[in-house]
Structures are given as C-alpha cells and as structure tokens.
Symmetry: C2
Subunit: 310 residues, 2 copies
C-alpha cells in the first residue's frame, strides 16, 4: 500500500484526487491518498501545492519524493526543510496552453491588433504589417515551456532567438547563452517573451539597463514569473516611449492589487495568470508515472536541480 499525502488548498482535492486515483489504478498501484497526515513517517509521497498546509517537510523522513502541482517551484526550493527529491509539474496540457498564449500574444503584437480592437471611430488606414519572417522575437528561457514556444513561433515563420543560461540547440531557433548571448537576445528583440524560472540570478533580470538594451518600440510578453521584471523600470521605459507595450500574466503580488499602476497604464495589458494552467487529468498522469517510477526504482521525471533552483 503506497501512502500518499495530498497537501494543497481545499479546492484542489475534488479536482485532482479522483484523476490521480484513476491514473494510479491504471498502473495497478495500490494506494491510499490522505489530505491530513496522522503519521508522517509512513508517507511515501507528498503531492503538493506551494500554498498547501504542509510547510515543514522534515517529519516525512521516509518520503521518496515531493511532487509539485505547479511548474514554478521557487517557493519549495527556498524551503530548507524540503530535502526529499522535488519533482516539478511538467505536462503536455500545460505546455500546449502556454504555447497558445505565447503565439497568440506574439501574433497580436506583430499584427498590431490592438489598434483595431480598441478603435472607437471610423478610420480606414491600411497599414500592412511585415511578414513574420521579417519580425525578430527573442524567448528568454528554454525549458519545456520556452522551447515549445520558440519552436511554435519558428514554425509560424518568425525570426526567433532563444536564450538560456546553459547552451541549448533547437531546430529553427538561434540559440544563445551566457552573458553575451543575453545582450544579443535583448538587442534584437522586437518582441521579447519571458519564460525563465525565478531564481536568485533571474530576479529583476529585466532591470533598467537591460530594458534599455531592447530596440526602441519593443514589446514585452511575460507569462513566466512576475519578479523577472523590475516593475518601476518597466513603467519608466514605457512612459519615456522606449517600449511600446507590455503584456503581463504574472506579478509580484497576485491577484494584482486594484491600486497597482499596471491596471491603468494604456501600454500595459494585464491577464490574470491564465497563460497556462495545470489541468488535473494531464497532471494526474504525470504524477502517477513518477510514483510508478519511484516504486520501480527508476529515475524520476522533471526532478529539480536544487543547486540551479529549477
């Protein structure tokens, strides 16, 4: 009998537990899932959200893994009591949702849609946009989400560069890395997409100096993590006309407070953290597969490198 603790806000249980049971059953794995734990030492796996009740992982001395329901694990990585193998949520549904958000908003800015969507008076001024092949897009971060997004953009014909800390190779995408690569990725980006993990190194990576590296009239799309951008520097770059627009899905504080200037800025579009969501049925299959691997002694999928932070 595999003992599983499910630690997440109450609303998660109804959505996630039934498909997780079903997926475990399909592997023939006898299990018990509890939402409250009477005997931490007996727990084999902890499935959890960063905002769930368990914050001290030290009593779970025999747990084989902590399986995150979220893709971003910065809150777990910062938790010194969490010493068990930590597995990120990566699943095809979440990747597909992110690719749709990124390609949709890149095309929106590329085609200049907002002028038509927001137009209030008749105005017939045909302005043909350049072709995607003439539009330079840079994607910062080439993890599962960044890589899939960069490839989809390249598939639509965009001139795409991707940047990551360590060198990567992706068909159809000019892959850059390191400090010089970052300068080059920023300097060419008519449209910049942020899909970096949040770490000590990436917090405020888009500060005033790096925003100034972007070409005049550039657009930023951030479905990654809020603290990647220095909020004040972003507002200043928009206000002085250096940047044309920012479309932001993630924020330092969520929900974004009503008084925050992002809500009212004409060159900022706020989306309420909808770019990509963990869909329970997809997530359940990934979780069950990792538990199967744990029981079989096989290597886990999507294990976090604690030294890198993601």
């Amino acid at each position: 009998m595999i003992e599983i603790l499910f630690s997440a806000p109450e609303s998660y249980g109804g959505k996630y537990i039934p498909p997780i049971r079903e997926a475990l059953d399909s592997f023939g794995l006898a299990h018990r899932i509890e939402t409250e734990c009477s005997d931490p030492e007996r727990v084999d796996y902890i499935i959890c959200a960063p905002n769930g009740p368990v914050t001290d992982f030290s009593p779970f001395t025999h747990a084989k893994a902590v399986l995150s329901l979220w893709a971003g694990v910065e809150r777990f990585v910062d938790n010194p009591s969490l010493t068990q193998p930590l597995l990120r949520m990566v699943n095809p549904g979440m990747t597909a949702g992110m690719v749709e958000y990124v390609t949709g908003h890149v095309l929106r800015h590329h085609l200049g849609m907002d002028a038509h969507i927001r137009r209030e008076k008749p105005e017939w001024q045909p302005k043909i946009p350049p072709l995607a092949s003439e539009r330079r897009v840079s994607v910062l971060g080439l993890g599962a989400l960044g890589q899939a997004s960069a490839q989809a953009l390249a598939g639509l014909g965009f001139d795409v560069a991707g940047w990551s800390r360590s060198p990567k190779s992706i068909a159809g995408v000019r892959c850059l890395s390191g400090a010089n690569g970052l300068e080059e990725a920023l300097g060419r980006a008519e449209i910049l997409v942020l899909l970096l993990p949040l770490t000590v190194e990436t917090e405020n990576i888009l500060d005033a100096a790096r925003l100034a590296r972007l070409p005049e009239g550039a657009v930023i799309i951030n479905p990654g993590r809020g603290p990647l951008i220095d909020d004040e520097a972003l507002l200043a770059a928009l206000d002085r006309g250096h940047l044309a627009h920012a479309t932001l899905d993630v924020f330092r504080t969520e929900p974004l407070p009503g008084a925050h200037p992002f809500w009212h800025h004409p060159q900022i579009t706020v989306t309420p953290h909808i770019a990509s969501d963990t869909r329970p049925a997809h997530a359940a299959r990934v979780i069950a597969e990792n538990i199967r691997r744990g029981e079989a002694g096989e290597p886990f999928l999507h294990q976090v490198d604690r030294s890198a932070g993601y």
Copy 2:
C-alpha cells in the same frame, strides 16, 4: 522582345515594375514594359489590377495571358471582353500574410484576449480557456490561402474542419464538401473562417439561415470577400446574441463608409483589408515565372477556371 502592358493605378508602377524587370532579367527574358499601349495587337502579356485603366481586353488579340496582381479575380471573371488565359496572383508572401492574420485572430478569439485588451477597471477573474485541441474551427474555402490557414491552425492543435465545393484531402484537417458538408462545417464551428472566392454561388453564402446553423456564441472571421456575408443578417445574429463576434477585413464597399454600422458595433472588429497583401518582390517572381512558361510553351501556374469563377 516580349511586349508587356502594365495596367494598374499609377501608384503601383513604382512598386511593381522594377522588381518585375529584375525577375525577367534573371530568366534572360528580353522585354519591354509599357504603362500605356500604342498598339494592342503587339502586346504579349497584360499585367493588371482590376482597378487599372484597361477594361476592354478585346483589342489585345495576340496576348498570351492576363496576369492579375490581385488574388481575387471576380471583377475580371465578370468581364466578357477578357477571353485570354487569366492567371491569379498566388504567392508565398501573400499566403504567409494570410496565415498570420487567420492564426492570430483565431488565437485572439480562442483565448478571449479582447476582455483583457479592452479592460478599463481592475478585475482579476482568472478564466482558463480550453486547449486548442478542444476548440472546433471551420475554414470555408480550401484554395491556396484556405488550405495553408487550415494546416497552420491544425499545427497549433486546433480541431479543424475545412469545406470546399469539390472534395479535397489535407493532412490533419477534416475535409468536407458539398451541401451536406457545408451544414456540418457550420454546425461545428465555434470559430468560422471565410476564405472562399467570390462567385455567383458564394455571394451571400452566409445568409440568415446559415448563420443560424452556427452554434450559439460562435465567432466569424472574414478575410475572404465582403459579399460572402449578408450584412443585415450578420448584424441581426449579433444583436440577438446568437453570434459572439465578427472580425471583418473585407467589405462590399471599400473603404468601409464612415456611417456603416459595422464601425460602431461593439461585437464587430473592422480591419482595413490588411489580412494579406501582394508584396511586390514576391509577386514579381510569380509573374516572371508565368511569362517564362508562356514563352516556353509550358502550362501556366494559377490559371483561373472560368466556369468555376476562380
């Protein structure tokens, strides 16, 4: 010496004639391009726009072909004096531009972007859209533009059906044809894309009855031809809440008159015929290739089937 008459509004000449000369030179084809014709019987090819000065093609008794600068040839097809082989403009740049417009606006409606783009007050209400694989899109018209658009949408994961008069087969796209096929294509279309040619049979193809076949809340995107839709029926279907939105790039009268109700309707987005444009350098290569074929006695590319009207 190949004699070519260029018949188009004056503004076209500067854009088109230099790249056409260059493309013909690259094939080693000695030629003369005139914009006014002294001797119609000596003209070998007529390159023209429907709004150019030549409206009577009967004096050009030795012309081997009429090469349209536009994709839509309904105005030429209606001209009884035009008996020479008529070649449509089909080129990769134009197809790419159309695919970008179609995928961009389909993603826009799929993701519900307008609510975020037009929001004026703070409002954090995360509503995760379905995945593209759960979204049914139908493309009416499977010519060069419709086929490329349907394939791009399928490549992004959408559940795509395409409809054409005669049966076709496109990988990843459910291909429908004939009258029953049209009913099925409409009945499933959460998002409907119109890329039909304008013919006697397709004028007003989206009348009140066919609009009523669309599922409630459907969205229409028309980058094809204005008269494909019955304007009054469209307004009625939007006003009674059956349709959610229409994004229109083409109109019965262009520029769309300032007093037209489409400009002011909150559920209509007007774009000023920008979905796809003939880009001179690309068009020149297609024109030169067809002249080369004409001189070599090879079959022309993109010849219009006069009985079908496109």
